[in-house]
């Protein structure tokens, strides 16, 4: 019964989305406020209906209702409760349901915001958003119905793929989707602006918080996924330039460009047409990402269930939305009033360079990811584009980008002073150089690229924070005054500094991977394996049985310079319902580095294959992304971004001590 309610609610949501799409659109054309006002309740209704459908499916999972095909294929009555819930989105049908659920959630939140958003813009935005919802609801109902019944119902389910039975994977998809799908709002705003033919700073101010929210979630989602792959897949890598990873990285790059270009649009009323295009492209890349992951057209280390029919369906959705929106852009963009042009040496000039580099970097990733597909379609030749390609193309673009990041932050709007900005960054540069030299001395060499990365990471870190220091402190000022002034800086300034500093921290973590050590050996109980300063003694292998798997646990004693520092366990599991083996890596955190143990198979003599890594400062990679996301979140709480507070925002901007804002206020 509950399952039927879920199925019905899904169909109802489709009906409501059609209403939400058609009536407000018509209302906006004929300027009928009553028709336009339909958008908000319809959006809320569609969200409620899909939330009910989602709850129904979750319910079927919790009670292990094996009359539902989806539950049979992805659940097991003995599975831990948490994974029963995460199993809902640990499969194709359920994850698409989560996708539309988040889509309508965003629509509902837009509908609820009481703000200065022009009525027409809001109605059109919700209407465009509903069209996306319709497409994906049709996709779910026709090709991937999560509520399909199994006749006859089996007694036991086939269990969730063991790799997905993990806390990291329980939160990764929702975070990632909040990011992916969040960009649909920016997209809907862009299309609405094109239809409306009007675009201004109000538009930019309205769209920026949404883009930023989506971006923060996407940052967290990618970071979580990377950490999951690191510890769960058992071979110690954290990024593989795999198509599925690139699929989430491309919208991130485009989205990063978008949050920067909307700033220019808001403050300087420029880059308008470009911002619209970027908003369209960002969501298009999210759609392409969904297609790549869901259709299985590319061989990936993270490949999920694939079905050609579904792939074709998503491809059609893709062509309609991307083709349609770009055609609309080509038709309407020339009619939009162009923004002004400005000096190259200025904050906005630096942001243009930022956009240029980010979108170029995104393009190189795009080419590398899709070229094999295009080549196969054209010539039938099968190739793979691996990490060497991406390292050769992405790094030379990303490194200058990170290097100019603190500079852009230091330049003033309108007319910047390059020399002055460089002088303000001298301290940060000197400090970074000194630290890179210290690293060189301590490690006695190392790859040049890694040393460059260390310097770059420190420069980005200190350069970003020096912005806060130079804005609040000058020579001879008491620290208490400086602290008060620093606290008085707008939250967006703090957010920017912290987010940029986080990038620096991540770069440091990535650079540090160059000093990782690994060793590989067959170890018998009592024997040791060592990497770096650490030696691990295998104490023994003991079997144990859990409800859905059998495991062999290898217990190691860890020694550093002969001194015991603790124990570490790694497991080899065999999940009985699927007969599938997995490796649970053993991790021990020491400072910011980690010891990482992966197990291989046992050999006939009683030894076990062990791969041991010492990864110094590896945690910085994910700490940095968390800091970056925190910075984004902090910016989001800035008064200026709180919709509906433009008056206060103006007062805030005129505050003394805010150099760039002063320049703006006097302009």
């Amino acid at each position: 019964m509950i399952v039927e309610i879920g199925h019905y609610a899904l169909t109802l949501a489709l009906g409501l989305s059609v209403v939400q799409c058609v009536l407000p659109f018509w209302g906006a054309r004929v300027r009928d406020p009553a028709l336009m006002a339909v958008a908000a309740p319809a959006a809320l209704g569609a969200f409620a209906a899909i939330a009910i459908a989602f709850a129904a499916l979750t319910c079927a999972y919790i009670v292990s209702d094996f009359s539902v095909v989806n539950v049979v294929e992805n659940s097991h009555s003995m599975k831990p409760f948490l994974y029963k819930i995460s199993g809902v989105w640990g499969n194709h049908e359920g994850s698409m349901l989560l996708w539309v659920c988040i889509l309508t959630l965003f629509g509902g939140v837009v509908a609820l915001t009481r703000n200065s958003l022009p009525e027409r813009l809001k109605a059109l935005t919700l209407s465009v958003q509903a069209s996306v919802t319709i497409a994906f609801l049709l996709f779910i109902l026709f090709t991937s119905n999560p509520f399909a019944r199994a006749v006859p119902a089996p007694f036991e389910g086939r269990d969730l793929n063991p790799l997905l039975q993990d806390v990291g994977l329980a939160v990764h998809p929702p975070l990632l989707y909040l990011g992916y799908v969040g960009f649909s709002i920016s997209f809907a705003f862009a299309i609405a602006a094109l239809i409306d033919g009007r675009i201004d700073a109000v538009w930019a101010r309205a769209v920026r918080p949404w883009t930023l929210t989506a971006w923060v979630f996407l940052t967290l989602g990618i970071s979580m996924g990377s950490y999951w792959a690191y510890y769960e897949l058992g071979w110690g890598g954290w990024w593989f330039w795999d198509p599925v990873e690139n699929a989430s990285f491309m919208p991130w790059l485009a989205g990063t460009a978008l949050i920067h270009s909307t700033v220019v649009m808001e403050k300087r009323d420029a880059l308008k047409v470009w911002t619209i295009l970027l908003a369209i492209l960002t969501f298009s890349l999210s759609l392409i990402g969904t297609f790549l992951v869901r259709s299985g057209v590319l061989t990936s280390v993270h490949a999920f269930a694939t079905d050609p029919e579904r792939g074709t369906f998503i491809l059609i959705i893709l062509m309609i939305f991307i083709g349609g929106s770009l055609a609309l852009f080509a038709w309407r963009a020339p009619m939009l009033r162009q923004g002004g042009i400005f000096a190259p040496i200025s904050r906005e000039g630096a942001l243009v360079l930022n956009n240029l580099l980010l979108s170029t970097a995104c393009a190189t990733v795009f080419i590398g990811t899709l070229y094999p597909l295009a080549l196969e379609g054209l010539t039938g030749g099968k190739i793979s584009v691996g990490p060497p390609y991406f390292e050769m193309t992405f790094l030379p673009i990303a490194m200058p980008l990170i290097a100019i990041m603190p500079l852009g932050q230091t330049l003033a709007w309108k007319r910047g002073n390059l020399l002055g900005a460089a002088q303000r960054l001298m301290a940060a540069f000197a400090l970074a150089l000194a630290l890179a030299l210290v690293v060189l001395a301590v490690t006695r060499g190392g790859p040049v690229l890694a040393l460059l990365g260390v310097g770059l990471g420190f420069f980005a870190l200190f350069g970003s924070l020096s912005e806060i220091v130079t804005r609040s402190w000058s020579r001879g000022m008491p620290l208490s005054t400086a602290w008060r002034r620093a606290r008085g800086l707008p939250r967006s300034a703090w957010g920017t500094a912290i987010a940029h500093a986080g990038i620096g921290v991540t770069v440091l973590g990535i650079a540090a991977t160059a000093w990782g050590v690994e060793s590989l050996a067959v170890v018998k109980p009592g024997e040791t394996i060592s990497a770096g300063h650490y030696a691990l003694r295998l104490d023994g292998v003991t079997p144990y049985t859990a409800p859905t798997y059998r495991a062999n646990v290898a217990r190691f004693s860890v020694f550093r310079g002969g001194v015991p520092t603790g124990t570490l366990e790694a497991e080899k599991r065999l999940y009985t319902p699927r007969g599938m083996a997995t490796t649970e890596a053993g991790l021990m955190t020491r400072g910011l580095g980690q010891l990482y143990v992966g197990l291989g198979e046992e050999d006939p003599t009683g030894g076990i294959g062990v791969r041991l890594y010492w990864k110094p400062f590896v945690l910085l990679i994910w700490i940095g992304t968390l800091v970056t996301a925190f910075g984004g979140g902090l910016s989001l709480t800035d008064r200026q971004l709180r919709i509906g507070a433009p008056a206060r925002a103006k007062a805030r901007r005129a505050q003394p001590g805010d150099g760039q804002a002063d320049a703006l206020a006097t302009s």
């Binding site: 793929n161 790799l163 190259p344 170029t360 099968k382 691996g386 050769m392 997995t582």
Partner: protein
């Protein structure tokens, strides 16, 4: 700066970045691309030793041998050709005889294949797509409905 100069600076800057990126892409494409080959392709095409490629097919029944340590020898077959593969390192959890596998490495002068990474299925139903296609061509294809996770083990 006049308006015209500003615009020119902007356009020149953009073109410079795009040009550099294009150069990098073309350069990288020439050197870093790896072709996918089946054992039959390799015997038929007379590929020069030292060429980096991906080799895919089935792990031949009874061909896995462990000469010691972490090194493993096995044969990848597609029915029409066999290639002996050497690999040192941990294998994916579901590496088995009779199952699909994709390995990446270099062709040795003696015609064997020195693999430095093994990508195998991570689910009993998963078959890397290239392998599935190659096997279909050779008429060795039996079944593959749903997929799962594949994982690479890189040395």
């Amino acid at each position: 700066m006049t308006r015209k100069q500003r615009r020119l600076t902007l356009i020149a800057g953009g073109l410079a970045v795009l040009g550099t990126a294009l150069g990098l892409v073309l350069f990288a494409m020439r050197d870093t691309i790896v072709f996918f080959r089946s054992p039959a392709d390799i015997t038929a095409m007379n590929i020069a030793p030292g060429t980096r490629m991906r080799l895919g097919g089935l792990v031949k029944e009874g061909s896995i041998a462990r000469p010691g340590g972490q090194t493993i020898h096995f044969v990848v077959t597609d029915g029409a050709g066999d290639i002996a593969v050497r690999y040192t390192g941990l294998l994916p959890d579901l590496f088995r005889e009779g199952q699909g596998v994709v390995t990446e490495g270099v062709l040795a002068p003696d015609g064997s294949f020195a693999a430095d990474s093994v990508l195998a299925k991570h689910d009993e139903n998963y078959m890397p797509r290239e392998v599935a296609d190659a096997l279909k061509e050779k008429g060795l294809w039996q079944h593959a409905e749903s997929g799962g996770d594949a994982a690479t083990v890189t040395q």
